[in-house]
């Protein structure tokens, strides 16, 4: 009933698809979280107009399922790029843009919105006295942010960022629907000819489980390192 030959043969292809999954996850996390931190700082400092725009953006991104974001990015961006080309007098062939770019952009926006909420609450959780202490020794606001406030906020945000990242890795599976050959799409493709669905998806499940196990461990490690200064806070 289980086709072991198929499993053995499909392993290399499935493993070969891991990099594209990781490419999406890492680039979306890195770019998205930097944007998210920016949004958090803008909203925390109540920058007029921009702050309101960010609030609407975050609310929209949090309300719309990733799959729909992916579709919107996949169909809207080529038109936007084409129209931009026309406006500068060039005809850009949008079919040469790989689908993974659109997927990454959608995931970046999603991560920016979610991480901004995590950063915002982490920044609020840093004791106000810390900022005052910075001022009392004569630091500027940016020195205080960089040296004292952000490192503490980071330590607070890390567990939630870890959870967000694991969700992101899982979310990349939806890029299948906009034509990215990541792990899930590859599994489907391999399974189709002889309908080896059960084998293909057990393998896929295993790969995701291993990935999330590894990332979970990594985040725990980083968390402990960041938290060393609070190690005995409760003791």
């Amino acid at each position: 009933m289980i086709n072991f030959k198929f499993i053995l043969e499909s392993i290399p292809s499935l493993i070969g698809a891991i990099p594209i999954t990781l490419l999406m996850a890492f680039s979306a996390a890195i770019i998205g979280w930097i944007l998210g931190l920016g949004i958090a700082l803008i909203r925390k400092n109540k920058v007029p107009v921009v702050s309101q725009i960010c609030a609407v953006f975050v609310s929209f991104m949090r309300g719309v399922p990733i799959i729909i974001l992916l579709y919107i990015a996949y169909y809207a961006l080529p038109i936007a790029i084409y129209n931009y080309g026309v406006s500068i007098g060039r005809e850009i062939d949008t079919s040469t843009v790989p689908a993974v770019i659109y997927a990454i952009i959608a995931l970046v926006l999603d991560q920016a919105a979610y991480s901004s909420e995590i950063f915002r609450s982490a920044l609020s959780a840093v004791d106000e006295g810390q900022m005052e202490a910075c001022y009392s020794v004569g630091m500027t606001k940016s020195q205080a942010l960089m040296r004292i406030i952000l490192p503490q906020a980071m330590a607070i945000a890390l567990p939630n960022l870890g959870g967000l990242f694991l969700g992101l890795v899982k979310g990349t599976s939806l890029a299948y629907y906009v034509g990215v050959y990541e792990i899930t799409a590859t599994a489907n493709l391999l399974a189709m000819p002889a309908l080896n669905f059960i084998e293909a998806y057990i393998m896929t499940t295993l790969i995701y489980e291993i990935l999330s196990f590894i990332f979970n461990k990594c985040f725990r490690q980083v968390e402990n390192r960041f938290k060393r200064f609070r190690a005995t806070a409760t003791a």
């Binding site: 009933m1 609310s59 929209f60 949090r62 309300g63 719309v64 399922p65 990733i66 799959i67 729909i68 974001l69 579709y71 919107i72 169909y75 809207a76 080529p78 038109i79 084409y82 129209n83 026309v86 949008t94 694991l166 899982k170 979310g171 599976s173 939806l174 299948y176 629907y177 899930t184 599994a187 489907n188 399974a191 309908l195 669905f197 059960i198 998806y201 057990i202 896929t204 499940t205 995701y208 489980e209 990935l211 999330s212 196990f213």
Partner: protein, 234 residues
């Protein structure tokens, strides 16, 4: 591919897509019910002193948190019938909605279990001791003292879990259920995809509005529920 948008047509799609709303709600409510039941069972296991129960519950949660919902859907919808067939069970009678409800219940149950566990542990130990001290029995203490307090703690997370579950119902289209997104895809393919961007934006707006309502509802309920209690502690 067309290189134009027709933003003005977006509002017109909203009522058409909303025709599938009952399907989405059905999936949402059923999955919510089952995920809470499974979550409660898993929570009891994870809190029990029995090491085997404990390990099973923790393993279940960690497995469900590792697997993408889409993969779980494929595993159950495409894989399971094959396995069952090979042992002589025919699953062709099972509806697509049932598969989706099963998948969403399983994946959400892990979040529900973590929520319940955290809420239970957040209630001060002294509360249970106080309940015993006035002569309450175990279950009475839970029902009258522990649960109401834990529920208050859990409301924001519960609201968040429901919103996430609602968003995940959008995966129903992957097995061919005509939910909100399934309807949107049907509308789009009826016009050969020429209006797909507008249709997807309209679907996005529907999800956005409903999530917005759910979020504010959750905040409102939390406020109502904890109002008297917070005052009492201060």
């Amino acid at each position: 591919m067309g290189h134009t948008y027709d933003f003005k047509s977006i509002p017109g799609y909203i009522p058409k897509i909303m025709k599938a709303f009952p399907v989405t709600i059905e999936i949402l409510l059923l999955s919510l019910l089952f995920s809470i039941i499974i979550g409660a069972i898993v929570t009891v296991g994870s809190l029990s002193k029995n090491k085997v129960c404990n390990a099973i519950s923790k393993g279940y949660i960690s497995f469900m948190r590792g697997i993408p919902t889409l993969v779980l859907i494929f595993l159950l919808y495409l894989g399971l019938p094959q396995v069952m067939n090979s042992i002589g069970v025919d699953m062709s009678g099972v509806s697509k909605v049932a598969y989706i409800v099963a998948c969403l219940s399983l994946s959400t149950s892990a979040n529900m279990a973590e929520m319940m566990r955290a809420a239970y542990l957040a209630v001060d130990k002294g509360q249970r001791e106080a309940a015993f001290s006035v002569g309450m029995k175990g279950f009475t203490a839970f029902r009258r003292i522990i649960f109401p307090q834990a529920f208050g703690v859990a409301i924001p997370t519960l609201g968040n879990n429901i919103i996430m579950l609602f968003k995940e119902t959008s995966l129903a289209f992957t097995v061919g259920v005509i939910d909100l997104l399934g309807k949107a895809r049907a509308i789009s393919s009826a016009s050969y995809g020429t209006n797909r961007l507008e249709v997807y934006i309209a679907t996005g707006i529907i999800f956005w509005i409903i999530c917005f309502v759910l979020e504010n509802l959750s905040k409102f309920i939390e406020k109502q529920y904890t109002r008297g209690r917070k005052k009492a502690t201060s």
